[in-house]
Symmetry: C2
Subunit: 334 residues, 2 copies
Amino acid sequence: MKPRPSLNDVAKTLGVSAATVSNAVSSKGRISADLKKTIRERAAEMGYVPSSAGRALRTGRSGFLGLVLADIAHPLFPQIAQAIENAATDFGYGILIGDSRGDVSIQKKAIDRLIERGADGVIIVPRHGSQVGDIGRPMAVIDSEMTPGNTVSADHRDGGKQVGKHLIELGHRNVAIIGGFKDSNVQHDRINGVKSAFPSDAEIQTLWIEDIELEGGTGCELGLARMVSEGVTAFVAVSDLHALRALTELQRAGFDVPGQVSVTGFDDLIWSNVISPTMTTVRMDMPKIAEIAVSNVIRQINDEMTDEDRQNLSVPMTLIARQSTGPAPTTLKN
Amino acid sequence: MKPRPSLNDVAKTLGVSAATVSNAVSSKGRISADLKKTIRERAAEMGYVPSSAGRALRTGRSGFLGLVLADIAHPLFPQIAQAIENAATDFGYGILIGDSRGDVSIQKKAIDRLIERGADGVIIVPRHGSQVGDIGRPMAVIDSEMTPGNTVSADHRDGGKQVGKHLIELGHRNVAIIGGFKDSNVQHDRINGVKSAFPSDAEIQTLWIEDIELEGGTGCELGLARMVSEGVTAFVAVSDLHALRALTELQRAGFDVPGQVSVTGFDDLIWSNVISPTMTTVRMDMPKIAEIAVSNVIRQINDEMTDEDRQNLSVPMTLIARQSTGPAPTTLKN
DNA sequence: CTGAAAGCGCTTACAG
DNA sequence: CTGAAAGCGCTTACAG
C-alpha cells in the first residue's frame, strides 16, 4: 500500500499550480493543449489517481448511484444489476447496492442508508404492491406503467399480447394463465396483455400461485394435469420461474411439451435456453431500460430535468419463440 | 433537496465546538454522557447526517468495499451479493459492484475501477480458471481451496462427498457426473469429492458440457437417455443449472425421476425447491462465507492481519435431500 | 493561458 | 471533559 501522490504532489513535482493540474486532468477550464498533454503523461507516470473523496467533498457529488431491489435474491437481479452497472459506468458513475432483505418495511431503510452513504441518486425496483414515496433525492423507479412514480418499464402489456398472439397463431383457444402475486402491477399488465390478444369466445382462466400455495404449501403441485384433461392446451406463466415449475410438473405427469400442451414464460431467465424443451419467453430490453433509468437520475442530479423528461416511458419487449410452444393438439386426450 | 446541516452548523447552533459534536456523534474521544446525549438528540432533530465525503477525506477511508464477480449474470450472484451486502452492512460498510461483462481480461479493469472510486478493499469471486494477482489493496478471494490466493470457500470437496454418500446409501453404483468447465477448480473439487465417496468397483464417468456443446452447439441435448439405457442410475451435476438441464432432458425422454433415474445438483439455486420433482442439492453457507470474506478484508484495512488470519478457510456445505433422488432401480430397462 | 487562495465537512492530536 | 486549529485532496471563481 504505497501512498499515492496527491494532485498537489503532482503540481509540485511538475512546477505548476494545483489548479492547472486539476484542469489538465478534468479537461475543464482553459489550458493549452501542450501543457495538458504533458501534465497528463507525467501524472500517469507518477501513478496519480484523483481522490474521489476530495472531489466529492468539494463538488458535493459522490459519483455513486444507489441500486435498491426489494429482494436481491430475485432471479432477475443479475440481469438488472448488470445492465444498471454497465449503464452507470458508461455515464461515469458507480453503483452501490442496497438490500431490504425481502422485507418491504426495510425497503425505505435501505434507500436511506444508501443516501446517507452519499449516493447522488437512487434507482429502485420496488417490491410488488409497494410504493416509493418522495425520498428527497433524485430517483428513478423501474416497475410498471401502472405504478405511481414509475419512471421506465418494459411494455409488459404488449409483451403479454405478443405471447397471446403467438399462441393464437398456433391454434390455442383454451389457455390458463399462471400468476404469482395478485398485488403485482407488472403481473397484471402482462396478464391483461395476454387476454387482450384472444377473441371473446376463447376460454381463459387465471390461477394464482399464492392462492394455491396457501392451501397446498410452498412448492406444492399446481394441479395442471387435471386442467389439461379438461381441455387447456397452453399455460402462460408470468415468469420463467413459474413456467419452469409448470413445465416440470407437466413433464413429470407424462405430458409431452409442446406436443400435448404448450408452456410460455417471461423474462428469459438464465435457464430458459438450456432446459429441454427450451422455453418460449418474452425478454425485456434491460440495457435500454437501465440506460433510461440511469440517465434520468443523472439529469435530475444535474438539474437538467424538464417536464418532458419525467414521462413514464415503456420499452418494447421481444418474444423469443422456442421449443416449449407448438400447435394446439386437435385431440384433447390420449 | 433542502441543504442538510453540516457538523459545524450543529456545533454553532448548540454553542459547542465542532470537535465535541464529532465526538458525540462518533462516540470517540472523551465526552460526558449527558452532553453526548443532548448533542445527539439535537443533531437528529436538525436532520444532521454526517458527510461521508468529509469523513472519507479526513480519515482516508471511504467505507466501501468493492464486490467483483467475473460475471454478474451468474445464477449464484443473487445469493452472493445478498450475503456480502448483509455482512458488509453489519460491519458498517457499503458495497460497490463491479462487472467484468463476462470477459476475464476486463476482470482486472473492473477491480481497478472500484479502487479508483475509493473502495477500501475488494472481494472477488474470480472466473473459473483465472487468477487474481496482487492488487495493492486489501482483498479477499472466494473460490476454491485449490485457487492460489483463495481466502475462503465452501468445502466443495466434502459437499461432493456428501452427494456421493447419499447416492451410495440409495444403492447407486453406476453414476455419471456432469461438469461444465474443465478449468474450474470449484468443479474439480466437487467432482473429486463425489468420486471419493464411491468404492473402486463403482462405475463412474464424467461428461463435460463444454465438450458436448463444442460438437452439438449451445443448449444441445446431452445424450443422457442412452446412458440410462446403458446402466447409469444417477446423474450428479456440479451445478443446479446443469442438473435442471439433465432433469428436463430425462423427463422429456419419458424417464421417471427419481423412479428410474436420480439427479442431483449443487448450490440450491432459486428454482430447485419449486420444480417437480424438487432437486436434491448441496448448499453453501453463503452468510458464513460472506462474513469471513468481509471481516478478513476489514482486518486488512485496519492492519490487524496476523499470519493466522490469512489462512485458506473452508466452510461446510449442507446436503439437502429432496425428491429428485431415490433408490437405484434394480431392473435397468423398462 | 496560468496561479494564489478559499473552502467543501470532517477528525485528530494537542492545549487547556 | 471541552475547544481551537490544522489539514485531508480537490475545484472554483477570481486575478493576472
